[in-house]
């Protein structure tokens, strides 16, 4: 949609690429109650989200389904109009200046295709040159660089509908970067990809961020993506940001618990030990959780050995999956999140 | 028998699940009903009687044709062709059901829904706005639903038949569209067969398509009485039987081909 006719602010050198202040998005949903009647329900998909991202940063955005991730990203890209609060992307209000902003950002939707389905991949790139009005030489340079970097030469002439998911994703990444966007929004870019393809995507994103200074907001379910790529991570649940900070901090804060997995000689009732609790029992195998500062692994193993014969054991360190899952479930003390001061205000 | 009743019910429910679509469809029926009614009224303003039709007949015809449009469903049914094309028909053959009767039962269930909700409402609206002619003879009120049911069978049998083209043709849609265009025109769906020039009218009644739409309309309008009425219903039954049998023969040929080629 053509944006407003207000003059755009001077771009200058912005240090803050993305900024949200008390942003809200409410939807009115009509639920069926019985055969005919409908009940009006207000859903607060985004309920007061505030954060800011510096230019050149690469930040992960994580949350369970329905948490408000996609809604936030849609507001950042100008697709949705916020119900409240203030949004600034590349210095402008996305909803009001959708088209102008679109020229300066790149978007990759993991589950939707931006390329032209029936046409050869290279035709999509050529069409996008015209859509984004990229000067021919710049387009050529970028395209050559990306084709080589992502090894796309073998399938440039193949229609998009015949590409594998990994090939298509490489095409989508290229499509999003051809016009030299300042900010890249990615929505589940590695979903469904095999290990090799995922590594390729991650490497590419890291390079774009490092060498071209592209600010990246990566929405994903795959926490390994975040671990590999982002120093900072935002967790959103029920429309609110429940964590905003570094990954190591998160693990340190909430990852103090480790797990000792013991295979006993015989099945036994859950072991009762000081400083450890049996989280799960499956036949002779038990998962014992204990806190680093209360008990060392060696002490726990000794304690178990006193009670039962151990056949085998392993120690599981908390990983980010674990930690995040626990935060979602409300196990972790969410109110104790420290760290990042969030938006400047 | 019980099984086929269940299948028919399923066919009914499939379409009952989308009331919004039905309402939209009724709206379309009403729009076209008005347009066609006005056009035919203008025709009969020039000439008060054409064949066995007068203006009131023509208007009644219009709204009956709109009501029969979805009930008889001449246009746009590819379900069997799709199953053949996708190869799913192979699994269907494993089932302890007669393939043709399965689809016939489903279609009758569907037709029941459409007769009630896409047949009656437009006609009622048309009856309010125009001077339609209702049957005086109670016998016709009985004969009409019978005729409609037979019309559905004839239509189904024909659709089933050309859908089977998918066994031999990769692009069955071309054949399907030609079949649908011809059947629509000669069924009397677009204009009453009574308005056709004589030679075309004779051709139309020699073809099975008239039994799909024009026949029940003639019954309702009371243009076929006594022996003629029986004859008309028998004609519909005849075409229904012939097309169903033809369908079975072609289906056997098709499945044989499938087996030979390995699907």
């Amino acid at each position: 949609m053509a944006g407003g006719r207000a003059p755009l602010p001077e771009h200058g050198y912005l240090t803050i690429a993305i900024e949200l202040a008390d942003v809200e998005k409410t939807f009115v949903v009509w639920r069926k109650r019985g055969r005919v009647r409908r009940e009006r329900e207000v859903v607060r998909a985004v309920d007061g989200v505030s954060f800011s991202i510096e230019r050149g940063a690469m930040v992960g955005y994580v949350g369970p389904n329905g948490a408000g991730k996609s809604t936030t990203v849609k507001m950042l890209t100008g697709i949705l109009v916020p119900s409240g609060g203030r949004v600034r992307v590349a210095g402008v209000e996305p909803a009001r200046h959708r088209i102008d902003l679109a020229r300066r950002i790149g978007v990759v939707f993991g589950q939707r295709v931006q390329l032209w389905w029936d046409l050869p991949l290279q035709d999509s790139f050529e069409l996008l040159r015209h859509v984004y009005r990229v000067p021919a030489d710049r387009h050529r340079r970028n395209l050559d660089a990306f084709v080589e970097r992502l090894e796309m030469a073998p399938f440039l002439a193949t229609p998009v509908r015949q590409l594998s998911l990994g090939q298509r994703m490489r095409g989508e990444l290229t499509a999003a970067m051809l016009h030299d966007p300042e900010i890249l929004f990615l929505d589940e870019p590695t979903i469904g990809l095999d290990v090799v393809a995922k590594a390729r995507v991650r490497d590419f994103l890291a390079e774009m961020n490092r060498e071209r200074g592209v600010t990246v907001l990566l929405t994903t379910h795959d926490l390994a993506d975040i671990e590999r790529l982002c120093e900072r991570m935002l967790i959103i649940d029920h429309g609110r940001v429940i964590y905003d900070g570094g990954i190591e901090e998160l693990v340190a804060l909430h990852g103090a618990e480790r797990t000792l997995v013991v295979d006993l000689a015989e099945p036994a009732p859950p072991l009762e030990l000081d400083g450890a609790r049996a989280e799960r029992v499956d036949g002779p195998r038990q998962w014992l959780r204990f806190r680093r500062e209360e008990l060392s692994a060696a002490e726990l193993i000794a304690a178990v050995a006193e009670r039962a014969a151990i056949v085998d054991l392993a120690i599981e360190e908390p990983d980010i999956e674990d930690v995040v899952a626990r935060i979602y479930r409300g196990d972790a003390a969410v109110t104790q999140l420290g760290s990042d001061p969030g938006p400047a205000h | 028998m019980r099984l086929y009743w269940e299948i028919a019910r399923r066919g009914y429910r499939r379409f009952a699940a989308y009331p919004a679509a039905t309402v939209a469809g009724i709206f379309t029926n009403v729009v076209f009903g008005f347009l066609i009614a006005y056009i035919l009224l203008a025709v009969f303003a020039e000439q008060g009687q054409i064949g066995s039709y007068d203006a009131s007949d023509a208007v009644t015809y219009t709204w009956l044709a709109q009501g029969l449009l979805m009930t008889v469903y001449i246009w746009g049914w590819y379900e069997v062709a799709l199953r053949v094309q996708s190869g799913d028909v192979a699994t269907d053959l494993q089932r302890p059901l007669d393939f043709q009767l399965y689809w016939l039962a489903q279609d009758l269930g569907r037709a029941a829904y459409h007769a009630a909700f896409r047949g009656i409402p437009p006609f009622l609206i048309g009856a309010l706005a125009f001077d339609v002619r209702l049957p005086g003879d109670p016998l016709l009120w009985l004969a009409f639903p019978v005729s409609v049911a037979l019309a559905v069978v004839v239509s189904f049998a024909f659709r089933f038949l050309f859908n089977l083209g998918a066994f031999w043709l990769l692009d069955y849609r071309g054949v399907a569209i030609i079949a649908m265009v011809i059947s629509t025109f000669f069924s009397g769906q677009l204009i009453p067969i009574a308005l056709f020039p004589d030679w075309l009218m004779h051709l139309a009644w020699a073809l099975p398509f008239a039994s799909m739409v024009q026949a029940p309309i003639e019954v309702f309008l009371g243009h076929a009485r006594g022996v003629e009425l029986a004859g008309l219903l028998a004609l519909q039954a005849f075409w229904g039987a012939v097309l169903l049998l033809a369908g079975r023969a072609v289906f056997s040929a098709g499945t044989r081909k499938l087996v030979v080629q390995g699907g």
Partner: protein, 270 residues
């Protein structure tokens, strides 16, 4: 101005890609178009049958009705070609394809319109031109420069009117789930109606297609001028020259509805 030229360039490229992709299957395309042409003739066959029984419909001879029919077919066919794929809008919305469009630096309607150009719809246009040929041969037209100009003009304004109607009724897709059928009642219904002289329809319907959805300006009014006929409805002669106005109104209305619809989509997310 430079912007508009650039936009046209983008349109040309997007549509060009679609056309190339269709022409790849040359035989299939040719058969499809032939098929569409033949099917459209069935519509006209109904008119011929009617005129086998009567001499004039609402004081319009067979040639004159054929003229109206032809104009309606050609203009509708061309509009269908350019904008008919708007019928797919409900599906696009459902599958979230609209979001992909909104992420690009182009207007949403522009992108939807330039997403296809189904050549097989030319079948209807070809059939319409054939009937137009028949009409021009059958009817004695007192040709003047003005009348020839009007014929050319009505072909253009007719397309624009249908396009405006198409956009207006497609916009309903943003409010009503699966609204294609509803829109069809007005687009295809409109095409059907414009094939016949407006004076045969009931008074309320006449007023509707003159003042609300300006279908009467596709064929009827300009045709009165070209064919040199009296307006039975007794409306001012100016109406016969008002098709450009009707076209402008149609586009304005359609565009306004589309914008309102997208605004709503961006507010409510559905």
């Amino acid at each position: 101005m430079a912007d508009t030229i650039a936009l046209f360039g983008v349109y040309r490229r997007l549509v060009g890609a679609r056309i190339r992709s269709q022409l790849q299957y040359r035989l299939s395309f040719a058969l499809n178009t032939l098929g569409t042409t033949l099917i459209s003739f069935v519509d006209f066959a109904a008119i011929l049958v009617i005129f086998g029984r009567i001499d004039a419909l609402g004081d319009w001879s067979v040639g004159e009705v054929a003229f109206l029919y032809a104009i309606s077919s050609v203009t509708f066919g061309l509009a269908d070609l350019v904008i008919g794929h708007l019928d797919l809008l409900p599906r696009m919305i459902r599958q979230g394809e609209l979001d992909v469009l909104l992420a690009r630096p182009l207007g949403s309607l522009f992108q939807v319109v330039s997403s296809d150009f189904a050549l097989r719809r030319l079948g209807k246009v070809i059939q319409g031109l054939a009937v137009l040929g028949y009409a021009l041969v059958t009817v004695e037209i007192d040709w003047t420069a003005g009348r020839a100009g009007m014929l050319a003009l009505m072909l253009v304004t007719g397309v624009v009117i249908f396009c405006g109607i198409w956009v207006a009724f497609a916009s309903v897709a943003f409010w009503v789930v699966d609204s294609t059928e509803l829109a069809n009642a007005f687009t295809y219904g409109g095409n059907y109606m414009a094939q016949y002289p407006v004076n045969i329809f009931g008074a309320w319907l006449r007023r509707f297609v003159i003042f609300i959805v300006p279908l009467a300006f596709v064929g009827y009014f300009p045709a009165l001028f070209v064919l040199g006929k009296e307006d039975e409805l007794g409306l001012p002669e100016a109406f016969q020259f008002a098709s450009p106005l009707a076209a402008a109104a149609s586009v304005a209305g359609g565009w306004a509805l589309w914008r309102a619809a997208v605004r709503r989509y961006r507010s409510t997310g559905t």
